[in-house]
Chain length 406, copies 2
Amino acid sequence: MARIVQKFGGSSLKNPKFIDNAASIICQEANSGNEVVAVVSAMGKTTDELLNLASSLNDNPNLRELDMLLASGEQVSSALMSIAIQKRGLQARAFTGIQAKILTDTNHGEASIKEIETDSIEASLSRGEIAVVAGFQGSFAQNEITTLGRGGSDTTAVALAYAIDAERCDIYTDVAGVYTGDPHLIENSKMIKAISYDEMYEMAISGAKVLNANSVELAKKYEVPVRVRSTFEPDNIGTLVTHKIFTPTRHLTSLSLDLSQSLVSLKMVHNTENLDFVSSLFTRLAELKISIDMFMMIAPEDNLNFELVFAIANKEIAKLNQIINEDNIKQKFKSVEIKEKLAKISLIGSQLNLRSDVIAQLFELVKANKTKLHLVATSDLRVSILVDREKSKSLINLIHNNFFNI
Amino acid sequence: MARIVQKFGGSSLKNPKFIDNAASIICQEANSGNEVVAVVSAMGKTTDELLNLASSLNDNPNLRELDMLLASGEQVSSALMSIAIQKRGLQARAFTGIQAKILTDTNHGEASIKEIETDSIEASLSRGEIAVVAGFQGSFAQNEITTLGRGGSDTTAVALAYAIDAERCDIYTDVAGVYTGDPHLIENSKMIKAISYDEMYEMAISGAKVLNANSVELAKKYEVPVRVRSTFEPDNIGTLVTHKIFTPTRHLTSLSLDLSQSLVSLKMVHNTENLDFVSSLFTRLAELKISIDMFMMIAPEDNLNFELVFAIANKEIAKLNQIINEDNIKQKFKSVEIKEKLAKISLIGSQLNLRSDVIAQLFELVKANKTKLHLVATSDLRVSILVDREKSKSLINLIHNNFFNI
């Protein structure tokens, strides 16, 4: 007998038929003799619909009440999933975040899990029940409800898998596993059998939606073996995310595309005071939880000006402008330029810093596809390029054919 | 400064525009210097939609999970209402049943409130916040979620009004108050300025949907003054439900119509053993929470047979048949007859037992309207007749014109 955590995302729970399909997967695992904890997201687009309701009433809703609102979505799923499992003749018990004792900090909207008191779930498992836990949510103090931020159900699943010492955490989604490129975009993309936590993390922060980046970090930290697999092909074992993979030290793993990126360029006079100021700018970015990527600082030879450039998700532009217009920041810039409607293509692999051949080929492909290139950044695990959005889909197919269809 | 509880039903919270309208009523009360606790139902038809989801997965869903499912509806409303109030510049705090510490028994689906620990709500009010409580729900033990049964938000409101010693409990709905007859059906119906708890109770159990019967009982017990009033005419003070009304001792108050009634007739041999059996039949009815009305037992002169007749809501027929087919009950009957598609018309007033003139006129009106009459039952506060459904709407108008448009 093993313990398995199974997580089902919104696209696997769109309607009662989908919920029942997921219930059949859970029951199959339980009937094979395993103890099962299921973690469920809100049904389909529920979270977006609830957010729309809130913003139609208030463009700046209180985060405490927003958490209470959004947490209802997963509560509904956990109740319905338990009801579907019970119909199939097995015992099930639904848990809200409060009931599952998922204790978080007080950071409404993007809370971090501090601890999981597992006694209620352990008691449920020992009664022979399938524990069905509402993902994405926790609580602090006197039953104050928090949510873990987008993709938070993945984090719930990984954290629970660690807390109850599960053998495996299966993340069920609408694709069969992790691919060399988005199978919706790239015809010849291939499923990857195993991928390292680090590479999976790079993919997640480069726009691959298959797994949430925080959950990958957590899985790495606690060495929780994660499987990404499909609700619609339960017999396909999908992609294993783990430390223990056997690949050449230098290799390319996958390609990802993020269609909602902007390039920010800030020019300023180069002096010591301004270097302090860059630090305070980054402090503000962190305070408002804005992530940037591909950050570079260019100090020209003349030393008179310097330029900060970075990529940022389009949805963060409003918050960025807010920071730029703050009194102590506004006057520092000689110029602020924001180019929207860009796409970021990222090639994930290992030891990419040593692969100038990869960079060289990328430049050739960009040129062959007549695509305007705005920025290139490389690290050990990833090469990312920022290009015009309109030609990015043809470009990513070209790149995939070049590197993955040899 | 007074304390007011305001309750908003689903029809007052259909969409964001309606929620915002209700928020304006709450803010007006708070801005006039009063402390306000708002109790909210689920938006529009949410509860029915959630029930449909559950029954599409399982025709006999577990009541614990069903409560967790349904409670989400009021959680959503309380969060959204708080967000709408905050937009209007006032402080608000949403409470689930767990957070409001509404403690119930363990009877999932139809729990009774045992106690309300008011410290969280008192703390919220003393911070100058409007407390927005999810109606219809409570909890027991380790945050196990319960619901109070249909119309339970009225009960939450009345119980809270008593617990925090509120001056008044305002029940906001889609009609301006309590009428002499359903204004959707009867053109000339008149709003009633004040009505006694007892009469309101009789109306509630006779099919008037304006207020839940349990909440009226509770209001009477704790002497909570209740106002039934309209969300769409906030300046209309509506109908007061109270002990203290000044009316003639003999009077008629209102008329109600219930279109989903059946008449049950059970015939059996008359002997002592069977009398015991009637008692066990009623025990089973109580166990399955089936209410019956207009119960009568007819023992003919010959003493060989007797007949039990009563009215029952159509939706209870399946459960009734279940009881009738139980082994120890089935063989007792000589015949079982159930007439469906009947309507119950009830005339509410006081000292009606002494008003044979009312009974006489009723018979004349039934005859004039050529309607088949199946059963008549009278009590001090109510005369009810069971008639064919098809002619009941014309009949109720005829009755209303006769008694209320003099």
